[in-house]
């Protein structure tokens, strides 16, 4: 809707994949885990009641969205968080929020201007 006003400043080319990846609670948990440092699939899977292949699948989605990178040269292929796409995604939603909060500020001033004209209302 109002997002078209941000075209000029929106830096992210592939936010669809980022948002789709973030929509899943398990994947968000994985990202939280990786925020504390890189981890192998084993480590990541440990707290989940989920098979390793299932976790690998989630990791692939995160990788495709650019949120996670995996070391190719090391045997365990530890995954690490890449926060840049999240930052871009956050900027997108912030644009939406800022549009409305900015509008609300203007509405606040408008109401302040209008109120005296309302006369006797208390």
């Amino acid at each position: 809707m109002v997002m078209n006003i941000s075209i000029a400043t929106d830096p992210a080319p592939n936010l669809n994949a980022v948002f789709a990846a973030l929509a899943d609670p398990t994947r968000r948990e994985i990202l939280s885990r990786l925020a504390d440092g890189e981890a192998s699939v084993n480590d990541i899977a440990a707290p989940f009641a989920m098979s390793q292949p299932a976790i690998s699948k989630h990791l692939k989605v995160l990788e495709k969205a650019g949120l996670v990178t995996r070391a190719v040269e090391r045997q365990k292929r530890p995954a690490r968080l890449n926060a840049k796409p999240m930052q871009d995604a956050a900027a997108w939603l912030e644009t939406f929020r800022d549009f409305w909060l900015g509008s609300f500020d203007q509405l606040d001033s408008l109401l302040a201007d209008l109120k005296p004209e309302e006369g006797t209302k208390t």
Partner: protein, 166 residues
């Protein structure tokens, strides 16, 4: 993923509800507050079920267009509309940078007054959206807006670490 992700913004205004209602339903008032830093031109405002709000936002050479169709109008309490981004001829148009952002958002605005203060609450949810649109909206709202409170904190932390390392 939640079936119907909802994004909510709420704000209090120290003004009577009737007055706040008017700022949504009278074009000269609506144009004064809607859209920060842009020139808002209201081409049509017909606040009744099935009526339309055709809105242009000018930023220098460029304009953004929005169409809203009202589905419920209950003065001075509740306003429900379907808001869409459109092209200049008011036909639905996806954002090229974000094709899966929902084309139409069901927007519910409610007004509650207590002691001369009006609480205005806006709720957005995808309307007749594709699975991809719902996922996109859910990802944005649940991970970054509400629901996953840790998301933004985590992001801030990681970015700080990245900057420290750079």
């Amino acid at each position: 993923m939640t079936e119907h992700p909802v994004y909510i913004l709420e704000r209090e205004f120290s003004a009577p509800r009737d007055l706040v209602w008017r700022t949504w339903t009278e074009p000269d008032l609506l144009a004064q507050w809607y859209g920060p830093g842009v020139e808002t031109i209201i081409h049509e405002l017909d606040v009744k079920p099935g009526g339309r709000w055709l809105n242009e936002m000018k930023m220098g050479e460029n304009s953004g267009y929005q169409k809203s169709v009202y589905t419920e109008v209950s003065p001075p309490e509740r306003l429900v509309m379907l808001m869409s981004t459109t092209d200049a001829s008011w036909e639905l148009a996806a954002n090229p940078r974000m094709p899966d952002w929902p084309a139409t958002l069901l927007t519910v605005v409610t007004f509650e007054e207590a002691g001369g203060v009006t609480t205005m609450r806006l709720e957005w949810s995808p309307h007749e959206a594709t699975a991809a649109e719902i996922a996109c909206f859910a990802g944005a709202v649940e991970s970054l807006g509400q629901g996953w409170g840790a998301g933004m904190e985590m992001l801030a932390k990681v970015l700080a670490e990245m900057q420290a390392a750079a």
